[in-house]
């Protein structure tokens, strides 16, 4: 039961170009979405998040877009740098007053930045 899907297991992008990572979800109850970056042998590192009341959130080189009607979000990294090479996980959760469900993760996309 894949409630959060990342359909591209890997993505190769040239240094300096834009990287676009995509994520789809099926559970309409999700209202908070996050992107995590993970290097081998490390835990996921929080990158950026977006609430369902917004359609865009920007933080430096990272921008997350949310299309609620399509149940789709994307992470844009521009310009891409060699240190961005990692596995990127999309995660979603349902938040409510006084509580929150655990995060539901996608399978991840391995981003490779080529010099």
């Amino acid at each position: 039961d894949q409630q959060v899907k990342q359909n591209s297991p890997s993505l190769s992008v040239q240094e300096g170009r834009i990287s676009i990572l995509n994520c789809d979800y099926t559970n309409s109850m999700f209202d908070y979405f996050l992107w995590y970056k993970k290097y081998p042998a490390e835990g996921p590192t929080f990158l950026i998040s977006i609430s369902s009341i917004k359609d865009k959130n920007e933080d430096g080189r990272f921008t997350v877009f949310l299309n609620k009607s399509a149940k789709h979000l994307s992470l844009h990294i521009v310009p891409s740098q060699p240190g961005d090479s990692a596995v990127y996980f999309c995660a979603a959760t349902r938040q409510f007053e006084g509580g929150a469900d655990g995060l539901t993760f996608g399978k991840g996309t391995h981003l490779i930045i080529q010099p």
Binding site: L34, A41, S51, G102
Partner: protein
């Protein structure tokens, strides 16, 4: 920058043995989580914990699992009688609040191998 720490980094155990995985969450955080990632699969939510009790748990978190906050700093996951399929990376996470738009910060993980 404060971070979540986990010990041990690796643990090898025999099937049927008990293991305890330890985590030190970020000091002012009140909500604690365990996740696991079986090799090649996605990160899966196990349990969340607040105010010395379980808040939410997934279907994976059956009777062989338990969590505890034995003192003011540690948060532990116990697997009572390990099975081969418990082999995975186990990640601890913490967040400041359960409220809206709260971000979970992950530790580096413990790699558990059950033989």
């Amino acid at each position: 920058e404060p971070e979540v720490t986990q010990t041990p980094s690796h643990q090898v155990t025999q099937m049927g043995q008990e293991v305890i995985l330890r985590c030190v969450p970020i000091s002012n955080h009140l909500y604690f989580y365990w996740y696991r990632q079986i090799l090649g699969q996605k990160v899966e939510f196990l349990v969340s914990f607040y105010n010395n009790e379980i808040s939410e748990k997934s279907e994976i978190f059956d009777d062989q699992f338990s969590v505890e906050r034995p003192d003011g700093s540690n948060f532990t996951l116990k697997i009572r009688s390990t099975k081969l399929e418990d082999s995975a990376m186990y990640f601890c996470a913490s967040s400041e609040d359960f409220g809206r738009q709260e971000t979970q910060y992950f530790g580096p993980g413990t790699r558990l191998l059950v033989l």
